[in-house]
């Protein structure tokens, strides 16, 4: 259903004029990130069959790959690449709170006797 929506016409009331070249560049970036995400997924699964010496090594590599993939999604798909200051500020405060949350959870675990088997 198209609701009579016109095709191949540029929006007429856009707040900013459309730069076709810029949009095409953006599309190329999206495709590049997609390729990185697919490669990252394959790598993550392959890592499961490698079996590192210590469990913490597996955890570190898995989370590193996930962080790179997540950063690609946030930077390119979610346009954080463009550097909108107010959004960065919102995310900075959120990030500090999340890191604190993780830090406290992990630190509290180490304070329990006989815990943290997983990282040994």
């Amino acid at each position: 259903m198209s609701d009579g929506a016109p095709s191949r016409t540029l929006p007429t009331s856009s707040a900013s004029p459309v730069d076709v070249h810029h949009v095409q560049l953006e599309q190329k970036r999206f495709l590049t990130v997609y390729a990185v995400l697919v490669a990252g997924t394959v790598l993550t699964v392959a890592m499961y069959y490698v079996h590192f010496e210590e469990m913490w090594q597996t955890v570190a590599v898995a989370l590193l790959i996930a962080t790179v993939k997540g950063a690609c999604v946030a930077a390119v798909f979610m346009h954080l690449w463009h550097g909108e200051r107010d959004i960065h500020r919102i995310l900075l405060y959120t990030g500090i709170l999340v890191v604190a949350l993780f830090g406290l959870s992990i630190a509290s675990n180490f304070s329990l006797p006989g815990s943290a088997h997983f990282l040994r």
Partner: protein
């Protein structure tokens, strides 16, 4: 300026103080609260995982190829959302529509696969025995323990002739006196490394134990009176599945919410494209932000739940 602009300001124009249109700021604030929500659940999971004994935490119960495929489905949907937005930027509504059909297809496929995974867990059992058995007595239990002489207090596998979500009470109510369990290739208490080593050994001397991978076809029959506990792999089974269903269930709800939002924008909401294409494009962009966030959460969920 039309009526909608008079009532809702900054739907397309940029505010001087934020440098953004209002919808985008609103969505980012919402996503910040979502980060805290998932952050709390993730940190709780990390807390539980770190504190768990290695032989108590399930390994190999989730289907990695299926999980990886679902990851690719979600990543593909993120690409089609981004591409549909650029199509609108270029004024090509038909191209936008094609991309969004793929997005909706991916979202539906993701939820379908997830439901199938859930259903599989509703039919997968662990049976705790009052009197342990050994793999020496029952060779079909070879994958349930590292040592053939070690007592096996619980068996994982599928029950013959029962439906999903059975409990010990429901079996007794149905008048069952015994159950036949077809054991899994490996009990979850064996780590990924131990399972891989056992597989390698099995390949070197096949057919000895009568199974060549996957579920064991030779079952073990036990009396219902000899069972101390029986559970499918649902939240009440233990910490891992309580965390698994909480995290993936909440995530699936987000996928469903995104699916509804995109479907609304694509069909009844599409009238706005005719009246105010810039606002419509922005609406797709902010919904896309939500969708990419859902993708991002899954990027972290997949390795921590399926691989660790």
């Amino acid at each position: 300026m039309n009526q909608s602009h008079a009532t809702i300001p900054y739907t397309t124009e940029i505010r001087e103080d934020t440098g953004l249109y209002n919808g985008k700021v609103g969505m980012w604030l919402f996503l910040a609260s979502e980060v805290m929500l998932f952050g709390a659940l993730f940190s709780a999971y990390v807390f539980l995982r770190i504190g768990a004994r290695e032989d108590e935490w399930p390994h190999g119960l989730l289907n990695i190829p299926i999980g990886a495929f679902n990851t690719l489905v979600l990543i593909t949907s993120s690409l089609t959302v981004a591409m549909s937005w650029t199509a609108l930027k270029l004024g090509d509504f038909q191209r936008y529509r094609r991309f969004q059909f793929v997005t909706l297809g991916c979202a539906t496929a993701f939820l379908g696969i997830k439901s199938w995974e859930y259903f599989d867990k509703f039919n997968h059992y662990e049976v705790w025995l009052k009197k342990p058995l050994t793999a020496k007595e029952y060779p079909q239990l070879a994958g349930q323990s590292l040592d053939a002489n070690a007592p096996i207090a619980s068996i994982t596998g599928h029950l013959e002739g029962t439906g999903p979500l059975e409990t010990l009470a429901s079996l007794k109510e149905a008048g069952a006196t015994s159950v036949t369990i077809h054991p899994d290739e490996f009990h979850y208490r064996l780590s990924a490394r131990q399972q891989a080593e056992r597989r390698k050994e099995e390949r070197l001397r096949p057919t000895e134990s009568g199974h060549a991978g996957g579920e064991n076809h030779a079952g073990v029959t036990v009396d219902v009176s000899g069972i101390s506990r029986l559970s499918t792999f649902v939240p009440r089974h233990g910490t891992f599945f309580a965390s698994y269903f909480t995290l993936t269930g909440l995530h699936a709800l987000h996928v469903f919410g995104g699916l509804l939002a995109f479907a609304f924008i694509l069909w009844p909401g599409a009238r706005m494209w005719r009246d105010d294409p810039a606002r419509y494009t922005n609406r797709v962009e902010v919904t896309g932000l939500f969708w990419h966030f859902v993708d991002l959460v899954w990027i972290f969920l997949f390795p921590i739940l399926y691989l660790l």
